[in-house]
Subunit: 219 residues, 2 copies
């Protein structure tokens, strides 16, 4: 009886050591599976500007997107086929991507609540539509930075269609530009979208310079 | 002489009023052209994990990416052909996307400074490689959230190739999960990349709930 128990203890210890070894060798993880979900942090709050068939300007709120190429400079935004903006981009082959500042959080969220099918969203939010001088799409004068985009690729993925636009120019308010002529993130105060808990966050302070703070690890 | 000056003043006033009208009609903008640049705010700090031909795990730092589809859940990352990770994704048809927390800012930046061609970046940064149990790619145990991705599409854009991966699972540390089982952004403390001035920022506090704060503008 004693010997049996001893063997069981030995076996348990062997299994524990084996598990430790596997972990040390990087074969197992302490992480939990959360499921196949779109849990990326951060995602942006993009204000996609388009004209509909009648020329009415429209804005939608999109968190699925990001820069996808440096040369030519391109941005990608993904929209469901069901959205009013989807058909507009296909037809006009152009869109803008504005970034709302923190002070326009209500306007930004409103663009994700109502549809351009039902209302004039610019008028509803009290925003000023400006026609891009370069592409066939409008943007809101009240958002501090906007990318003017010419449709380059359409990628059908699934529920969402990805539109890749070449950034033909960036327009920015003078008061968000730094001495080097580039927009400063802490002056823009762009909204960050939390896709897990559906909230908007601000940008925190600078934590470190890129291509610099990691040099401490270089041998 | 007096009459001439009077006409000039009238003309200037007429021009000023015309400009105001054009602005009111959304035909002009007060914004400045910044040029065709990849100025999106925010961009993420993505840790792309791959195995090379010999099975050596590698990580790279990518700011060009984002979620691109909800169903199937997909994430896009764009890499230059010259990167060591590019060939690895093409060959293994898999990659992971980890998110470093603020405490790992040095390790994250290091991944953007050195190449897996020259060094073992996991070893160099003191990170633990874990083999995904679902796809043929590794991730760092020290990053609180990671997406495990199966390559779905390759989109050649220009300098960058866009890899679209289906997210087959998300793994997260137990201590970043909320009561609902989903990761909490303020526990992850993901790094935001400022593409204009090449710095890492933290995420600020919650400013408002989505699909909610904009309801005040609904008629």
């Amino acid at each position: 009886m004693f010997e049996v128990q001893y063997n069981e203890e030995m076996e348990a210890e062997i299994k524990r050591l084996e598990a430790e070894n596997r972990k040390a060798q990087g074969e197992v993880t302490m992480k939990k599976s959360v499921g196949a979900k779109t849990l990326l942090f951060p995602t942006p709050t993009l204000m996609v500007g388009t004209y509909d068939q009648t020329g009415k300007p429209n804005l939608m709120n999109a968190a699925w997107g990001g820069i996808c190429c440096s040369q030519p400079p391109c941005v990608a935004v993904s929209l469901r086929k069901a959205t009013y903006s989807h058909a507009a981009i296909v037809e006009r082959k152009a869109f803008t991507v504005g970034m709302a500042g923190e002070s326009r959080i209500m306007e930004a969220d409103y663009m994700g609540i109502v549809s351009g099918r039902d209302v004039d969203k610019f008028a509803g939010a009290g925003l000023t539509p400006v026609k891009s001088d370069l592409v066939d799409a409008p943007y809101a004068e009240e958002f501090p930075v906007v990318l003017e985009c010419r449709l380059l690729h359409i990628v059908e993925i699934g529920l969402h269609t990805q539109f890749i636009g070449e950034i033909v120019d960036v327009k920015a308010d003078a008061d968000v530009l730094g001495d080097d002529g580039l927009p400063e993130i802490m002056k823009i105060k762009p909204l960050i979208y939390d896709t897990a808990h559906k909230g908007y966050h601000g940008v925190g302070p600078l934590l470190g310079k890129a291509f610099s703070i990691g040099k401490g690890l270089q041998k």
